[in-house]
Amino acid sequence: MLRTLAAVVRRDLLLAFRQRADVANTLLFFVVVVTMVPLGVGAEPNLLRSIAPGVVWVAALLAAILSLNRLFAADFADGTLEQMLISAEPLPLIVLGKTAAHWLVTGVPVTVIAAVLGIMFDLGVGETATLMASLALGTPVLSLIGAVGAALTLGLRGGGVLVSLLVLPLYVPVLILGAGSVEAVAAGLGGGPYLLLLGALALFAIVLTPWAVAAALRISVE
């Protein structure tokens, strides 16, 4: 079972490496959206410090949405997904491997880039560390919940817009907890409870969403 998981992760990482322009687009989008905001609202340091967590988190959500169609569409079009559906190994396991690879090429770089963006918004060390921790715990949830939306809209025309409508409302708790954790640290309260809740959400999503994705894929491929 672990061998299959590792094989799926390795395959998707290799594909992402071969198609690195696609991956870079998502990250570039994230950076550009965040850097646009100071240009729009003005360079008042106190204002920037207070809006930074929200801006970074909203941009992370949008970047995650943008990358979701990469998750299953190509495998669906070339027939690999059929082979996954009739694998001797459980489908939720394969789904977990694919989402893990998706997180490694979107969530992890976004978390790392956030350190630089924190400096740009003049965040303190504690705030930046909390922002990164919240992204590290929250982005897996974005990938996992996004996978449910991507699987449900697979093969539909206009699926890209539909997936945002389906998935964005479900991202709201992650957004509130993620941005809230940094604001709490800035207010001197400590972000611990927020991060714990985010961690709980991540565990919840890891356990439950692969089953939902698997069921949605079987319906979509019929």
Partner: protein
């Protein structure tokens, strides 16, 4: 033994076939025949469990495949209409990925051996985007060499895009699988160039699939 009981399949509003019964014993080649659009691929997808029939059920060794799931799929190798080959991976990487997805164990030697067997010597490390249609088809068919002990093969138009030598070597492979008490279900528009001790044909196309 593969059995189908009173299968009915609808796509959209149209009934492709109904009341279809099958019973395929080990060592049998089952050919699904019929003009375009009569549901050959749909029937194969139903046999694989990828498509749920609107009526009836499939049984493998007496158990419904809906209940067996992974246990049934571990006895099945399916080469569909789509190759499942990634343009951005090399031939050997494609085959390794397919083996990983299917849950098969395959070391480097086995992968190279399978590619040699389908006549892709010298192309192992070429990206699939630079290979021809026929060569991509061969990568998909190389999966059959990896799944040596899998008893049931379901092949959708396996001979398309293959050259004369490719057709001959695939026919030999199918014949060897049948001789080892395997089951092969395939669709083809060509005459089946396979020596099979036991061959049956299902003719689709009159709305009522009846085994001949």
């Amino acid at each position: 033994m593969l059995e189908a009981l009173d299968l009915e399949c609808t796509r959209g509003e149209r009934v492709l076939f109904s009341g279809l019964g099958l019973r395929v014993e080990p060592g049998t080649l089952l050919r699904v025949a019929g003009p375009n659009g009569t549901g050959k691929t749909s029937l194969l997808r139903v046999l694989c469990g990828l498509l749920q029939p609107t009526h009836g059920e499939m049984r493998w060794r007496g158990e419904p495949i809906r209940a067996l799931k992974e246990e049934y799929w571990s006895a099945l190798a399916y080469v569909g209409h789509l190759n499942g080959v990634k343009d951005d991976l090399t031939a050997v990487e494609n085959l390794r990925a397919s083996a990983g997805i299917a849950g098969l164990e395959a070391d480097k030697g086995a992968l190279r051996g399978a590619l040699d067997a389908v006549g892709l010597v010298g192309f192992e490390d070429s990206l699939a985007r630079f290979l021809s249609q026929g060569q991509k088809r061969r990568i998909a068919l190389a999966r059959l060499f990896l799944s040596g002990k899998v008893p049931l093969w379901i092949l959708d138009e396996p001979f398309t895009a293959l050259d004369a030598r490719g057709v001959a070597s695939l026919s030999a492979l199918v014949a060897r699988h049948l001789a080892g008490d395997g089951i092969v279900v395939l669709t083809t528009h060509q005459e089946v160039p396979v020596d099979a001790a036991r061959a049956e044909t299902v003719e689709l196309g009159n709305g009522q699939g009846t085994p001949c």
